[in-house]
Symmetry: C2
């Protein structure tokens, strides 16, 4: 998907919402657990109920790998089902040397048709570049994450005075305009400095909802002229109910978040 | 596998060799490509031919994921086939928040029976800890890697004067003695400083062979009293021949490397 197409989706739907399909067999409604493809059946219902409020879906690969080959197949089925009307993210956090990165890119961009893969930056440019060789595909690289452990290394002060995550993003922003950066909503102090460092790039923002991040400050400090933000919610939407009304409740929750987004986009003149 | 069991295997076989199963459908002998499970058929022959010279096998997950669910299944078959007489590494370079790391640990330690998974350190302790909750399982965390891009971020100077990779390993070594660190053989200058920083921990060393690292300096500067090293070779062994004698040639190459290891262990009195 091109940047223009992505920005159009965001504008048309007045939404920055990415729904995270962290589909846990132990959290889906009991009546689905005995289906042949329980993760996929759950996802189909969630996708149908939330699609109109949503610009992106993010599949967290771990939750599928935990079921072996069957889980992998359900991930493929889910990616196919989403189709081309949404930006599709494989939240895989990969990162390896060039010949191995080639294989991961093949897995997510050829074998499946994701628009983007999340990547860890630690191994440097040759671990990112193979993903950018695919036309209109994106690399979404970890910047400053939403978890407690983000403070172990990402905020190390470098010799030149910046935090490590700032220093890394300063370098990576010049590698491609098809790189997005993951910046956790719980790290609200980071958005101003990062938007100054890279005015043009998109940020993928997890941590709203279950992890406690604040959407208003994210949009206020993180937007750019192309909006420049995708905000993810996983558990807060997909597990809004554990009963047979799970899809309906997920749709209501997605609608509520999208309305909040629309109001905040208006408020800040985005 | 416990540390004692791993050290015993190394001593019994006078070998530090890890054979990397980076099994590429385009590089395996033509007569295998039409098999039902070509990657697995290739791996079986390589495992049989190299097992006696080898203490560990490392499965590079990317090469299996590139084939979708069928590839994932062939990874599972390979892990089963290796059995318990070798240390089994899932070279997956994962790294994510706690609830997601739980799922990856389940994939590699419960769904399959790997002894260890390679991980990226960038997201910090809560991305590593779930793997260490499994008894006798190991986390193998990236330290200083063998690729060109290792110089993009890993050698950033921190405010306190160390390289980033040194600073990170200083912290991580106290998290568990079941953490190993990946240190590329091409980074021979790193072994002395890292062995001083963490005298006890194991290093997993890629980059001997196709990537050009020097085994003698790795063993000289990297060993400890428990040997403390696993040295990986992938392409140099498994693609020693592309003809029907591929397994025989792989076995000869593994034997040759193991003999070199035996001589170097003697030379340095390890």
């Amino acid at each position: 998907m091109t940047r223009e197409q992505l920005v159009s989706l965001i504008r048309e739907r007045s939404s920055l919402l990415c729904v995270g399909l962290d589909t846990d067999i132990n959290k889906i409604p009991a009546h689905l657990r005995s289906a042949k493809n329980p993760l996929f059946e759950f996802n189909k219902a969630i996708i149908d109920a939330t699609a109109q409020y949503t610009v992106a879906f993010k599949i967290n690969t771990a939750f599928y790998e935990a079921h072996g080959a069957s889980g992998w197949e359900q991930m493929q089925l889910t990616a196919d089902y989403i189709g081309n009307s949404h930006f599709k993210i494989a939240d895989a956090k990969r990162g390896d040397i060039g010949n191995t990165a080639d294989m991961y890119a093949r897995a997510f961009f050829s074998e499946m048709d994701f628009d983007s893969v999340t990547l860890s930056p630690y191994m440097g440019r040759d671990s990112i570049q193979p993903f950018l060789e695919y036309e209109d595909k994106w690399a979404i690289v970890l910047g400053h994450t939403s978890n407690q452990g983000a403070l172990d290394f990402q905020t190390i002060r470098t010799e030149s005075g910046e935090f490590l995550y700032e220093k890394m993003i300063m370098k990576m922003k010049d590698w491609s305009d098809r790189i997005m950066f993951v910046v956790g909503a719980t790290k609200s102090e980071a958005f101003k400095s990062l938007r100054a460092i890279c005015p043009q790039h998109f940020f993928l923002v997890p941590g709203v909802g279950a992890q406690g991040g604040d959407m208003e400050s994210v949009i206020r400090d993180g937007h750019n002229s192309d909006v420049g933000l995708l905000i993810n919610s996983s558990r807060g939407i997909i597990y809004a109910s554990s009963e047979s009304d799970f899809a309906e409740k997920a749709g209501m929750k997605a609608f509520q978040i999208q309305e909040e987004m629309r109001a905040l986009l208006d408020k800040f003149g985005v």
